[in-house]
């Protein structure tokens, strides 16, 4: 990533962090804890983004059989795991402070959990296979195979459990975002920052992976 962008990202992220702490908490009833919203949702968003990146690279690997695609897929999955853990932890803290317990089987919590399980299983599979081509083929297949299951779960759980997520206080009945301007701007900026951080880390991770592979160490 060219240096100009890195610098810009640094500025933007710093601005976001300052804004998050200096401004009023976005949800007055919930108090200070609602500041988490600026970090929790972007983290969850990156988790999902990372999964789609991993899936796309897995499909490309199966089609063209070049190990670079596998490096990209696994890098995305590793980062996705990281952001998923962050999202789960921030979400649990929010849950504890707001609804009294860390885990509630709320549909969104369950969805992030299943992503964490899929990522974990993917990484476990990779560590159980030695040969690079077999590792790449098997993990690509699993990454793709897990997708329909995740979709099913996301659509199935809301039928079983009511949602406790405060989405309804931010996105109203007509689906439009009901956020006052400063909050909206900060939130979107945070979203952009998280995405750029992911892209940057992904490139670094891929470059490392590619070099390791060239030296025959992967």
């Amino acid at each position: 990533m060219p240096n100009f962008w890195k610098f810009l990202l640094l500025l933007l992220m710093s601005a976001v962090i300052i804004a998050v702490w200096v401004m009023e908490p976005p949800q007055n009833q919930l108090g200070e804890v609602s500041r988490l919203f600026y970090f929790h949702i972007p983290a969850a968003w990156v988790t999902v983004l990372a999964y789609f990146v991993a899936m796309r690279q897995s499909v490309l690997y199966l089609r063209r059989k070049e190990l670079l695609y596998d490096v990209k897929a696994s890098s995305a999955a590793e980062l996705g795991t990281l952001f998923c853990i962050l999202a789960t932890i921030t979400g649990s803290i929010f849950a504890k402070m707001t609804w009294g317990s860390f885990w509630n089987w709320d549909p969104r919590q369950t969805s992030i959990l299943i992503l964490l399980l899929i990522y974990g299983a993917y990484l476990a599979l990779r560590s159980a296979v030695r040969e690079p081509e077999r590792k790449a083929a098997l993990s690509s297949v699993y990454c793709i195979f897990a997708f329909p299951a995740a979709v099913f779960l996301v659509f199935v759980t809301p039928r079983v459990y009511q949602s406790l997520h405060p989405a309804d206080s931010i996105i109203d009945a007509s689906g439009r975002i009901q956020m006052p301007a400063p909050i909206l701007v900060t939130f979107l900026a945070s979203l952009v920052c998280f995405t750029l951080i992911f892209v940057w880390m992904h490139r670094l991770q891929t470059a490392i992976g590619r070099d390791l592979h060239r030296e025959g160490k992967l």
Binding site: L62, I114, L117, I118, G120, A121, A124, L125, A128, V129, R130, E133, R134, A137, L138, S140, V141, Y142, I144, F145, A146, P148, A149, A150, F152, L153, V156, T157, R159, V160
Partner: protein, 227 residues
């Protein structure tokens, strides 16, 4: 010698019969399944004792037993081929689709055999009265087919990796979670003696899960099976 071209289904059937014959002679997989299922069922019922569990818990218990039993035995069909070096022999003669269909059918047969033993035992031990049996069996069959469909591909993946047992569980769980949740809900409704149509949406989900899993497995199986 006669050359007679035959269909995919016939070839899948040949593979299934071969596996069935092997299994009937050795009984490795079915023994593992039954052992696990019966032990767990009896243990829990013993622990719970006089007090009945609610319908929700009973449904959950039933599916936990089936799920973990499946995990202990459904990967055998692929693992044994790799371990005894017959996998390459099979690979040289059969197409990936026929192998998948044959192994899937075998796993379905294994699971249904397990349930023939477990279901009466379960009803006996748990005193579930007034259940809607039609709904119960509809959920049971659809969910079992879906379970076999999802785990057959994963079994093929695991047979090519190390640490097979634990890996099979780790890989299967996220994929089976939606199936489990829906099956438990459907079974709970049947235990409550609810009308058949009340479980209809669960049956719809189970059916679509089954279809999707088989379709995706057929697409991906070749990538797992070929080196």
């Amino acid at each position: 010698m006669e050359r007679k071209p035959s269909s995919l289904v016939y070839k899948g059937w040949c593979i299934f019969s071969k596996d069935l014959k092997s299994e009937l002679r050795n009984r490795y997989a079915i023994n593992a399944l039954l052992m696990f299922a019966v032990t767990t069922l009896v243990a829990v019922n013993f622990a719970v004792g006089q007090f009945g569990l609610g319908e929700k818990l009973l449904a959950a218990l039933f599916w936990i037993v089936v799920f973990f039993s499946a995990l202990s035995g459904l990967a055998q069909t692929f693992i044994k081929e790799e371990e005894t070096k017959t996998a390459s022999t099979l690979k040289l003669v059969a197409s990936p689709n026929s192998i998948y269909l044959g192994k899937l059918t075998f796993n379905i047969a294994l699971l249904l055999t397990l349930e023939v033993v477990i279901v009466p035992l379960f009803f006996l031990l748990s005193n579930v009265g007034g259940a809607n049996l039609l709904l119960f069996f509809a959920v049971l069959i659809l969910a079992s087919l879906g379970l076999a469909a999802a785990t057959t591909l994963i079994a093929a993946i695991v047979s090519k990796a190390a640490v097979k047992g634990a890996l099979f569980a780790a890989l299967s769980f996220p994929i089976l979670l939606p199936l489990l949740v829906t099956a438990i809900r459907g079974t709970e409704l049947s235990f409550r003696g609810e009308v058949f149509m009340s479980g209809f949406s669960e049956l719809k989900i189970l059916f679509s899960y089954l279809v999707v899993m088989i379709a995706v497995s057929l697409m991906l199986f070749d990538f797992v099976w070929s080196e």
